[in-house]
Homo-oligomer: 379 residues x 4
């Protein structure tokens, strides 16, 4: 059995949401094991959170810098091998840069950074330092998303003509950020979230899954990024028309004011000879239609699925896998890359700094050009 990768977590202390998900995802398959933490920007809270998680008190650090320094002094066989960054978006770039320079691999939540320049710096640094850099676009971890990608690439639905991707939530339909709700607070604050609100938080996932599955490149777009809830400093509802290289068309929608939606990520891809539909809330199914009128549902763990889907599967059909399992597939891939010391997202099944940078550029472009008509997307 391969030993789990030892990681230190930055962020993810008490009251955080996504840090706990990362920890479960790392643990599910014993891909990685938590050995250190700088769990909060408030040192006292960081230490308390470390206690909650059973961290050795020597390795529960008050700041991420302390953690990088402290861990570097430990023997190699004990020292953390990787940092996992689950802080607000504005605190991704600095620790990621420093971690790579200190020789650690990085797992970083999305969107990767606030600015395009910061994103590019991470791409360059990962390359120069030969570190593994995985961005947790977790929806690419679902077996049936991988199956969809494989089918598109294999030509099962012909040349892609049209893509609809939407990611709708309703939890920000009221000005929750004024009520001290921690998640709402930072996600609607442009100094911490970056320029994009709904667009950054969930539109980023929509862009990523669309690109992952179709491989299409956006050439031009026309966007409308709105703050629907009065007084909000950031978009909470964004829609984008897309024109892809090669002539395909698309529509991307991200909203956090669509009452009734929980985590409504849906991707629909229409090709010359078939179509694919995947819905995050029923992730074990992939709906496939053909020009001849066949209307079929593929299920996770079916015989005949592609290797990438089959390898991302733990249980027989009908025994549901869901969010944590998909997230764990990203961790499994990143850990394998770290064992191999090779930053190859394609081979190991995770999204790289380059994918993250493309996402950051897209978010910023969509928000910047809102209301301005058709705009070219700089590559």
């Amino acid at each position: 059995m391969t030993q789990p990768i030892r990681y230190g977590m930055i962020g993810g202390g008490r009251d955080a949401f996504i840090g706990g998900v990362h920890r479960m995802a790392a643990r599910l398959d014993d891909s990685m094991t938590l050995v250190a933490g700088a769990l909060s920007s408030t040192p006292k809270k960081a230490l308390a959170s470390g206690l909650d998680l059973g961290l050795d008190s020597n390795r529960s650090y008050g700041t991420w810098n302390d953690m990088l320094v402290g861990e570097s002094m430990l023997p190699e066989s004990e020292r953390m091998q990787c940092v996992v960054i689950v802080t607000p978006n504005n605190v991704h770039h600095a620790p990621a840069m420093a971690a790579m320079e200190a020789g650690f691999h990085v797992v970083c939540d999305k969107p990767m950074t606030c600015t395009n320049a910061e994103a590019q710096a991470l791409v360059d640094t990962a390359k120069r330092t030969h570190r593994v850099f995985a961005v947790t676009y977790n929806y690419t971890g679902y077996p049936m998303v991988r199956q969809a990608r494989d089918m598109v690439h294999a030509g099962s639905i012909g040349r892609v003509r049209k893509v609809f991707v939407e990611y709708l939530q309703g939890w920000l339909a009221t000005p929750l950020e004024g009520d001290g709700q921690k998640q709402a607070h930072w996600r609607t604050d442009p100094t911490r979230a970056g320029a994009g609100g709904a667009m950054g938080d969930i539109g980023s996932h929509a862009e990523n899954i669309m690109s992952f599955v179709t491989g299409l490149e956006v050439e031009q777009f026309c966007s409308d990024a709105s703050a629907i809830v009065e007084g909000r400093a950031i978009d909470d509802d964004t829609a984008v028309l897309l024109r892809f290289a090669g002539g395909a068309r698309g529509v991307l929608c991200a909203s956090q004011v669509c009452v009734g939606h929980r985590n409504g990520l849906t991707l629909r891809v229409y090709g010359e000879t078939g179509s694919l539909t995947w819905q995050q809330e029923h992730p074990d199914q992939l709906h496939v239609c053909s020009l001849e009128g066949h209307d079929t549902t593929l299920h996770r763990a079916d015989a005949g699925l592609c290797e990438a889907a089959a390898n991302a599967t733990r249980l027989p059909g009908g025994h549901g896998e869901a969010f944590i399992e998909a997230f764990a597939n990203i961790y499994r891939g990143a850990a394998a890359a770290m064992h191999a010391d090779r930053d190859d997202g394609e081979a190991f099944g995770y999204q790289t700094a380059a994918d993250g940078a493309r996402g950051v550029r897209f978010i910023n472009a969509v928000v910047d050009a809102s209301g301005q008509g058709w705009t070219a997307l700089e590559g």
Copy 2:
């Protein structure tokens, strides 16, 4: 029992599709009865089609003009009272104008005309001649669409913020018009269909149901109307970003190249305190969510539905009503208006020439301004 309205049909002969639907819809509730016809632009085919339908051979006319003349000479108690126009779009305006001038009411398929000027002429003429003019936007005939409208107007979901409406089909994913398929042929020919292809044929329904349910007025839009299938002279895939008076946002999509969709009309309306979803392929249900997290399905014939929904219902819940029944509700409304000699779509439950003209203006604007960025919609 009220006597059925006597009608003469223009178009709808052999090989036609929608004419037969109109006849079933008229007959289902004995709202109207077919007494005359000019069923084809080819006189010989018109007569043969009349035989098929059991028309009195004296009243199966070779041209619509002959029908208007011939019927006008019959005694009032026998003469047709209304014309039903189910020809290609370019043959709506002339017979409708002539019919009203000759004293007949009109039921006209959508889109009402090809040009804005023709549309306005029909509005003006209906007003001047005091004729009933019903445009068969049949999706407004569904009880649960009427329920949705009532709920929006009653404030059940608060002020509307966001609307998604899409109407997706796949039947034109190949260049069917080149294979002599009659329906494909005229619907992709701008001289007969008008400027809009998918936009005119089904986007028109999407605009109508959106407007009917929400009452919102489009102020600005940004559109992308594409001919995806090579060589097609008209859009087969259109997407539009919408900005409504009062600040709400919307996205409207119409496509006939989305493989796997049969008749995929879906309307989603998000308000400050709730949301509504209706899907044409499961028309007896209306999905309602509230800010508090309630997630409810209303069913046709439920106790507590609005009067407009209740009156449009024939069967108990679970005993499905569908396309023909909804279409028949339009006929029922139009017939009642004719009996009352009062062109009041609101009171009787049909869409008027004014609704039809708004639709024509929208189609033409969306197609004309495609690719040009944000554009104001002229009222």
Copy 3:
């Protein structure tokens, strides 16, 4: 064009439910036309109901006997050709016998009679008098039910091993019959409904659709017919284990106290190599699975459906057909048989007196043997 069959209706006056459905079904395709009626057992109400429906007052009779006599005296070209019987179950046998003896064809609602002897008498009389006798097991009118049958008979799912059929409603979950609800009143009264309550009213449909689709014959059964609502004189919830000739097994459930169900008829058939599922509340779809794991949805009007399904279809896919259209398919078939003067349900697409008699025997056996363990079903 074939002329519609002229019919006289027995029952179906004011406050009735199913009579109106029959009239719409007859009218939808101009299969039959109402010319006479004995619309209520109360002569005054019969006449008033005739006025409602626009019947010629000479042909709105006070009793069904008057109608048979009166119509027989009219010239053949004017006289009704068929009676449609939509009375409570105890008033099916007598008018049906008399009508056939008087030379009229019969359309009769289900269950056909209260007793096995009465049922057999109708079978014998239909044969002797050469009259068409159609029992309105309307669920056999759905195109996708016909497709299911065709697939089973063609061996598409291999030898049938297991059948689940359930018909669940909730409207009798309270003692509605005590509140003067007319429909509840007679349907829970054994003197009018026969021995079966839920079993007779809807279990009869369940038995019929199961037999229609699978062709299996029940050899033995074990039943539990209960009156769940206190004081009810008749079963409102029945479950039956079935053993078919050839070894297949089945479960049939009928209940009218299952709160939340509207008209929940579902048939599931499992064969050696595949399975079929059809749900009445989504009637345009047939779900098909294969041993190899394919999970497919067939849609009404798809290319490649069997002839019986294709012929029972009016609209393109996605333009829903539902309850009335399926009911109209039965009328279309019965009318065709009457034009041909040939009582062949197989050829023309309706259920015959023999099918009705099998249903009556099944209902009575299930209710009689409730709680008694395994019982042989007499053929």
Copy 4:
């Protein structure tokens, strides 16, 4: 942070299915940690499997007896605290008895034993030795199943009248056991599986979830347990009519020959004033209907769910939890009971030896009395 419970696994080596699920479930929340194993009845395979899992080679034992002995000699702070038994059914009783006698807690897969006497012995021994004994009826771990139970007990749907529970699979539709498929082989072999085939393997879950949610006690039943696939020594398709104490009725179906079903466990409960439906393949939803016609979907993590549901939830709504998470809830409960040294399934959220014994009695009774008509269930 509470330390994970240290466990030793019996069974679950290479080629096993459910052992790996137990390990993921134990690990997801750090409820338990694997420290020892007797992973196969073949000592060599046991050791190899231990290597796969990274077990200390000293603690990878050749037999379960060796493990009990070996672990008992370790210092208390190091020694395993619990055994997890994931062997075929005939190898549950002996190690469970010995483990309790040696002072270890037990987690045991279902069905608990093959015979009623063995089951009772485990109940008695757990009581006498004061050990925690948890049977992994994992479906009781789903938050929405716990919500259903809470609602029934709180009277939300009134007195229960009718229950449908079905557990349908298709994987044994062919004689797979003849092809060397390990899972099929032992599950269809009565010497290892016990008297029940489909009934033991999955009917046991159906009985358990039904009892867990409704609290009803079976008084009488009538069953039909069949071996549909030729040559099979055990039932692969079973249906049971149920009469509960207090008058409610039920139908339980378990089949492994229903082609097209993956893991189709569905529970439907109908009360006097409402109903509940839960489907294992969409586990985050609970469908609730009321007598007044409200038709509502509750979602995991909704505000207002019961404490048992809320406590069993890790992620926000729409971020799916599924099979492993539910299984982990059982582990979390059992671990908490072990920390408290108190065998109280009700308080800690797991099914006890008493629940397991009731299940074993039900399976054996249903199979024994198949085809014999109504039979009383001995308590």
